[in-house]
């Protein structure tokens, strides 16, 4: 009975913001003289209801699943790690550089090295705020935000200077070697990267739901004093969580590089960025792995759909970004709190009428 309540609560708290955001989006679309129904129709049809569209959606969902997990593992412990974007960029960039300059003929090993480089970069980046938080109690949110800018500026410099591909007509690093690239499945964009993301999702499911570490993360998030008093050594756990977050983001960056982008450009992670998208996905999915999977697919569908909107309707695809922003805004408000059960409120309201 109680379990059912909490599941319903979770669903209402996630679905209601989405509905509200779409409703506001519809108003905006109507305001510029277009049909909301038609626009949303295109959005859904092209991203979920055709085989190719759906596989493309899964392809776009792959890095989002990983960045979502990278956010969730820290946010669940109330550790506001905003550095996922930077971790991901750094990982992606150096995976790309490795993939372009590495001379190993075995495609498996060369890919593996690219991923390892990205994981190490992501972890090193995450280590800075982690140590500052654990040793000096520095607010991790501000530090990670600052470092994100520092990283993107640094990578911009590297891309326009040291690692610039002189033969390309625009600012980019050299394209990675062909045997480092993931092969596409059929006509769609989907690659092995989706399978890798799914395997990691399953592993993270066990970590977060069944393991000692997952238990400790939950405890730290719900009551850090309790966690410290029962011997969880919160400082150490902060470092571990951040390292995992860094590794996951690194994999996301490398995967995106090897399966989709093939070179680092200034729009590598698009706008607002895979790391920021990951935050929305983690929030939407309630920080649970299964929720994150569903949210990532939903979100990727918005992304594939947004291109179709651009192509088939007169509505600018930025409408999708507005809807995404509004989803976050409404997600912040718990429509049903922890202390009231779903039906309790209605019951209470009835009683007070009587």
């Amino acid at each position: 009975m109680k379990k059912k309540d909490s599941i319903i609560k979770g669903i209402v708290n996630s679905v209601l913001p989405v509905i509200l955001a779409f409703a506001f989006g519809a108003i905006i679309i109507a305001a510029i003289g277009e049909s909301p129904l038609e626009t949303y129709g295109v959005l859904i049809r092209k991203s979920l209801l055709t085989e190719k569209g759906f596989m493309n959606t899964l392809h776009y969902a792959s890095p989002l699943i990983l960045t979502g997990l990278a956010i969730a593992i820290t946010f669940k412990a109330n550790l506001y790690n905003m550095g996922v974007e930077g971790q991901m960029l750094l990982g992606g960039f150096f995976a790309g550089i490795t993939g372009a300059y590495l001379n190993i003929s075995n495609p498996f090993i060369s890919k593996l090295i690219c991923f390892l480089v990205a994981i190490i970069c992501g972890m090193l980046f995450a280590l800075i705020p982690a140590i500052l938080k654990a040793k000096c109690n520095v607010n991790e949110m501000v530090v990670t935000l600052m470092l994100n800018y520092a990283v993107s500026k640094t990578l911009e410099f590297l891309t326009t200077g040291v690692f610039k591909d002189k033969s390309a007509g625009y600012v980019a690093t050299p394209t990675i070697k062909e045997d480092v690239m993931f092969k596409r499945f059929g006509a769609s964009r989907m690659t092995m990267f989706f399978v890798i993301a799914m395997i990691i999702l399953v592993i993270m499911y066990f970590v977060m739901k069944k393991s000692k570490l997952g238990y400790e993360i939950t405890a730290i998030g719900k009551n850090p004093e309790f966690a410290e008093a029962t011997g969880m050594n919160v400082g150490k756990k902060i470092i571990i969580m951040m390292l995992i977050s860094g590794a996951l983001s690194g994999i996301a960056g490398a995967g995106w590089m090897l399966s989709d982008q093939f070179k680092y450009t200034l729009t590598f992670s698009a706008n607002p960025g895979l790391g920021w998208d990951g935050m929305l996905i983690a929030l939407l999915g309630g920080h649970s792995p299964i929720g994150i999977l569903i949210a990532a697919i939903f979100y990727a569908a918005l992304k594939t759909g947004s291109d179709s909107i651009n192509m088939y309707t007169a509505v600018p695809k930025e409408i999708v970004a507005i809807i995404q922003g509004m989803i976050i805004l409404f997600l912040a408000v718990k429509f049903i709190g922890d202390k009231t059960s779903v039906f309790g409120r209605f019951k209470k309201a009835k009683k007070e009428d009587a």
Partner: protein
Amino acid sequence: MNSMIQTVDLTKKFNDFVANDHINLDVKEQEIKCIVGENGAGKSTMMNMLYGLLQPTSGKILIRGKEVTLNSPVDAIANGIGMVHQHFKLVPSLTVYENILLGAEITQKKGGMKTPFIDQKEEIKRVEKLIQENHLELNATDKIEDISVGGRQRVEILKMLYRNVDILILDEPTAVLTPQEVDELIATLKNLKEQGKTIIVITHKLREVMELADSITVIKQGKVVGNVLKKDTSERELAQMMVGRDVVLTVNNERKQQIESEIMYKAENLTTVNDYGKEVVSDMSFEVHKGEILGIAGVEGNGQSELVKLMTGLMESTKGTVFFDGKDITNWWPEKLRKAGIGIIPEDRYAQGLCREMTVSDNCIAGYHGEKDVCKHGLFNKKTINAKRDKYIKEFDIRLGDVNGNIGNLSGGNAQKVIIARELSANPKLLIACQPTRGVDIGSIEFIHKQILKFRDAGNTVILISSELSEIMSLSDRVIVMYKGKISGEVSPKEVSMAAMGLLMAGIGKEEQDHEKER
């Protein structure tokens, strides 16, 4: 005498829980009314309604015979009701006068025009006058974070007097005071009564009730169970009304074997500072023998909390060493302490002991969640965890509605039993028990006390820290008293008088006491 404040069938419900059930209270003008009852009897709920912090579900409040609606503390103050809360509502970084005038600031005037700027000189002048008029010891320009607990309470009282209230409500005013400060407070309150104020004091300390009250109302489980005048009653009768049966805390504390000479736990010159750099535990040295219960007594806020944090790995020392079972365990982390065989009942159940929003079984393994029986290769074994939980529920008589629910749904006593079950089942050699029965019902208190004695009788060691003097005195083999972070005396609970304990708790040591007697 006329009625000053009355309630008629005052009722407050929180969802299905009835906190106050048709309370009829009648406080006469210029009297001191004490409202007594156990923890959780509904005293604070009632007072919060009188102060406008809570709104009644039904019933009326009358002041001087006229019905009033109190929607906020502002209404209450406007109707002449002021309140001094148990947990002071002061802002530590502001000064005494700023706190007293909070919400009633005096602004500068220029040429008859109001300016938005605060007139600090005038504010200080007025507060100093108020302090003098009431013969209180306070300095208007001190910051709250620098003054004593008793001083803070005086600030709270002045805050209300400045607002010209006729009725002053004090919620558990003596909980944080030394016996001597309590006497001062009683004198202050009697003085205020002489000046025409009506005073309502909520407390569960019967000794103070008998000294202070003109009349007494007893509340039990949200209902009024007795209205008596002080001259017609006795402490024993009040106690009986409070709990509904005769209770004198009687645990059979007969030792079955001698205390062994082996030293189990030893602290040497233990010292630490609080966040503001002030020394709160100073050079504490003590030792505990195997098979002994050492009680640490003292008025709250004299460094006990910090001492417990030091002993349980939640705080680091600036100086000193701690030995346990022959090992140097200074500044060990909680995980290592538990592994070494120290069980911990923390001071604040829901802050350090349990996590309200986690399930009962999750809470049953906390602190021992890395042990091999529940956790292999980093993964939990749900079955053994649930089996553990069921075993605890049975062995420790934990009563709960839903075994799969969160621990936050359990009553205080049952939640505390979960901690006790968890810590004792790990078979520690030493138990550090801090306020083990705070806010717990009488039945559970008895159970917990028995468990602690049983643990000791099995040859184990206990350090008991409690502000409940009766608990310390009835359980301990030996007692040390803390005052301002230091040990002010060591006594045997069977031989010491309550009066001598009171002096020790006020920081007056044995020699000084003897010295006093000689004069």
